[in-house]
Each structure stands twice: as C-alpha cells, then as structure tokens.
Assembly symmetry: C2
Homo-oligomer: 334 residues x 2
C-alpha cells in the first residue's frame, strides 16, 4: 500500500504532516510518498528529529495558497505539491492521496487529474460528523454550491457505500436534508431530488429535518454543497461556543473548579468525541481513486487518522463498490 501525502497542505505543514506520517508509517505497513520541496523537507525532518524511513519524497517545487482560485491548480500552480500528488495517484504511483490544502483546488484537481468514476456527475466532499450515538456522513459538504437533483441522488449512493464499507453500518439510512418531513417541502431542488431518491437502490428514508441531523436522524445526510458547508460550519461554531461556556462555568469559582476536577476525564472524552482531529479527514467521493481531504488546521494526529482512512478506503474497495452500484443503477434505467 502506497499513500501519497501532500507535505505542504494545511496550516501546520510541513511539521504536522511529517509527524503524522511518521506515526502512520510506524503503525501500519504502508509506504508514504511525500510531495513537496525535498531539500526543505529533509531539513525540517532532521530539525524535528523525525526519521524518514519508510517514506520517500516526490519533488514538487511549488505550493498552492489557500486563497488561490481553485482552477489555478491546473495552470500557474500545476507544479505544486497537491497537483504532483494527484498526478502520481492518476498515474498509478500510489493507491490514495491525502491533502489538507485548499478544498476548492482539491475538488478541481481531483476531478480533472484523477478523474471521475464512470457515470458520476460531480464528485462531492463527504465529511464524517459525530452525532448522538455515533456519526453520520454529510455530503456534499462544500464541493458543489449549486447542485442538480440527479447529483443529490448520486451523493446518497456514494455516502451509503462509505458508511457501509468503512464504518460497518449494515443498511445506512440515507436522508435528504430539508425544512420539513413532507415530500413537497423545500425548494425545487429538494422536491425533485426526493422523487429520484425514492427510486434509488439504497435505503432512502425521506426528508430529514436539520434538527434531527445532530440527533442521529440518518447515517447519510444529503444536501447541496452550500447547505452542507453551512451545517458543518454552524456545528463547528456551536461546539466551540458550548465548550467555552462550559469551561467558563468551571472556572467561575473555587467550588466549581473542584467539581470540574471530578468530571474532568468524562468531559475530556466528550470533547474528544466532537474534536474534528479525532475522526480524521473528509473525502472527495466520486473520483477514480481515494482522495482524502484533511482539515486545514490538522495536527499530527489528524494526518495520522487521514492516512488510516485512506488505507481503509483501499482495503475495503469503496471505489469498486461505487463503480458497480452506479453501473447497476444505470443499467436499470436503460
């Protein structure tokens, strides 16, 4: 197994990338291929005392900035560490790719360099989000702001395969995120998508109101990328707000501080559950090979988890499963 990792993606690159890759290479039998400026990477590894055993470096002189136009990955930044990694993946020089760089550039590069699975209209970003009693996959969580109903139908299929193959949910409940339970609710997009999804081969459970999503109302929450990004970001903001409010309560007085000491361990576990670094990266679903999108603020542990996710996608052949299910749906319609 060879996992290609963008050494210069994310706020904490390349330090956190090197540390996370070291942890992953020690833990699993996998070869890590780092894309980036070799001289600088070797220097940084030496400085941090990180051995590069089991890893190799593929030269990429450039880095695409987070605020660059996504399409720039195909033009002025075509030699960046992300583009190099995607090209190696497309060329069969590795089985999966991990990057914490610009989401937009990864979507464009993944779509145009790695290319789509046959029949896929548009790849989507799928994010695994914690909820009551487990987690769910939210997709699209940001790749496509404007979606057509057929795209939402496919997102349901791709999310369903992931939840079943990777997270072991027997028959994932696929819900359409909407503002009401009835089939007629929402905008034209939701109404038409509902009609298509109820004919799909996966376990479509109908509309899921946004209130039910964090409460475990479905295993796959399907929506357009604008709505998905809003849900993800509101969740992040509220988690931050609640944690800071709880912390303020526990720091308020000496008795409160003593009470905090008692529940510290349990609160820590709770915080860990809602910590994005714990459940690893998101995925670009719909490309011919697995492309993992680690959070921009990923630390070493998050990179380690993203690599674990990449390996799991390969071992469980989620791409092959998506291909055959898409082919079956297409054959059925013809």
């Amino acid at each position: 197994m060879r996992v290609i990792v963008d050494a210069y993606g994310g706020d904490n690159a390349p330090e956190a990338v090197l540390q996370g890759c070291r942890m992953a290479a020690d833990r699993w039998k996998c070869e890590i291929i780092l894309t980036g400026d070799g001289e600088k990477l070797r220097e940084k590894a030496a400085e941090l005392g990180i051995s590069l055993e089991g890893m190799r470096i593929a030269e990429a002189p450039d880095v695409i900035p987070m605020d660059a136009e996504p399409t720039a990955i195909m033009k002025q930044y075509k030699d960046c560490s992300m583009a190099r990694g995607l090209q190696m993946l497309a060329d069969g020089e590795g089985e999966a790719f991990v990057s914490a760089g610009s989401t937009g550039a990864l979507v464009v590069g993944g779509t145009l360099i790695v290319k789509r699975i046959k029949g896929v209209k548009r790849p989507a970003i799928g994010t695994v989000v914690p909820c009551r009693n487990g987690c769910f996959m939210l997709l699209d969580s940001g790749a496509n702001h404007d979606c057509r109903p057929e795209m939402l139908r496919q997102f349901g299929l791709m999310g369903s395969v992931y939840m079943k193959r990777i997270l072991g949910v027997p028959s994932p409940r696929v819900g359409l995120v909407n503002i009401g339970a009835e089939e007629t609710k929402g905008t034209e997009l939701q109404v038409e998508a509902y009609g298509l999804m109820k004919e799909a081969s996966y376990n479509f459970i109908g509309n899921v109101e946004a209130r039910e999503v964090p409460l475990g109302g479905c295993d796959v929450a399907v929506c357009d990328g604008f709505t998905g990004n809003i849900i993800l970001k509101v969740t992040e903001g509220l988690a931050k707000l609640f944690m800071s409010e709880i912390k303020a309560i526990f720091m308020k007085s000496l008795p409160n501080k003593l009470a905090a000491a008692v529940v510290k361990k349990d609160l820590g576990a709770f915080k860990k559950k809602f910590d994005s670094a714990e459940y690893g990266g998101a995925l670009l679903l719909g490309t011919k090979k697995p492309v993992i999108k680690a959070h921009g603020s990923s630390d070493a542990k998050a990179f380690y988890n993203a690599i674990r996710q990449a390996i799991s996608c390969c071992e469980n052949n989620i791409i092959g499963e998506m291909e055959s299910q898409l082919a079956a749906e297409t054959a059925e319609k013809e």
Copy 2:
C-alpha cells in the same frame, strides 16, 4: 395598547396561552384580545382558575391545523383563530398580533391580510437567537425558501431596525451568511446580494461564515429562508444534543452527581440562555403592523415574552422606522 393573541395556536394551546396572557395582563397595562371559541375558552379558564379580567374574547369558531397548506388560511380556514386575529389587526382593532400557530399560514395571512409595508418585496421571519455575548437576529429564518438578491438587501434593513430599536444595539453589524469571506463566494444569490448590500444605508460588514454566526460575528445574519431554517434547526438539535451529553456525564456516577450539585445553578443559567422560551417569539418583519410568531412548543412564559415583544415593537415604533428607511432608500435610488 391592545395585543391580539391567537388562543388556539401552538402545541400547548389554549392552556399555555391563557396562562401567558394572564401573566402579561397582570404585568403591563395592556388589553389582551383572545381569538378563538369563546365558550371553550371561558370553560378552560374557569377550570384552570384563571381570571379573564383585562382580556376579552373575539369569536373564531375554527382552528387551522399545523400541517394545513399555508394558503388554506385564505380559503377553507378563513374563520380560524389566526385569520380572525390578523383581520382585527388589519382593521385597527389592536396594535399587534401574537400566534404560535403554523408559520406558513402566518406568513401567508400576514402578507395578504395585514399587508406589506410600502416597498417591501416579501416579509421575512426574523428570529432572535442567543450567541456568545448576547444574541443576533437571523432572517429570513423560514418565510421564503427562494429569495432574490433585493429581498436579502431588505432583510438587512429590517433586521437592523429591530436590533437597534428593540435590543439597543447602536449600529447593528449586518452580515450576509456565506461559505467564505470574499465578495465572490457563494451562489449567484449571495454574490448579487453582496453587491446590493454594500450600497445599503445600514452597517453591512460583508460575508459572515456560518462558523462565526453563533460566536457573535454579526448582529443581523441575513440569508434565504431555506438556509435560515437549516441554521435555526441545526442549532436547536445541537443544543439538545450537548445538553443531553452534559446531563449524561453528571448522572454517570456518585462523584459526578455531587459535582453536578455544585455547578447546578450555573448550568441552569447556561441552559436558560439557550432556551427559546426565554427570549420569546420570532417576528414577521415587513408587514404594516407587528406580527409575532411564538415557537410552536411555547409554554406560558414564552407567550408572556412574545406579548412583551409585541408591546416593545409598538412602543419603539419599529414599523414607522422601517417605513421611513425604506422610503429613504427608494428615494435615493430614484
């Protein structure tokens, strides 16, 4: 001051309505006009031992169900308690109207019976939502799923007037809810609305990412009604999830239970802050007279707060202020 209240709106009607109105009538010098079936209301009041002093009943034989088509308020339910209340408001038989009934019916009825302020494209539901260091107004939070850019511009104006006049924010920061800070982010709707809003007379601070909304990133969060409903409902679901997780931690063991006893008062205050019953109802903004939308699950305290909000809207002349600001903006454009 005469406040008209729909006695048969909401899950806890008419009991909670009667109790909330009693509290309000005792507290403020206002006359309460209850719309609904008089005989049943008097019976229920007697049964609960609630005096109807300072209140009077306006007969309305019918009730519009929560799941009725919103437009049904103009046809088969034109004699319902909500329609009667809106008609009385339009006819000048009261200064404001409060209902916890169907949001959709209230939007249709408010728009067609009470009618819009001159120049208003579409009324919006504005909801006051708690956040770090206070609260913000989210609008549209559900009246219009599909919006045009000009509507979003007006929502900013209406929300700004509310936050200034009612909540005393000197120069409310109006933000456009979006998936990134740059002017070019989002769908066509956001890009075009941004262009209009930056020319507006209020304090437009640009795009606000959804993550910043609960963290107090703006005083008025402007979006289409689909997005607003999603934000509101995800917030509700997450608040419920976090509270139940905290509760589970505190019930886990005897030491944890003892720790809980120490911080109980502070946690209660925290919970109260995020309790929708505490900050009262939402508003239909853009109608010629104040229409208050209480939460469907409103209890007596929530009705009391909604009536307080209705009185405050009248005393602070928010309709007059919106009228003059809209007129000024229109004059400027001509």
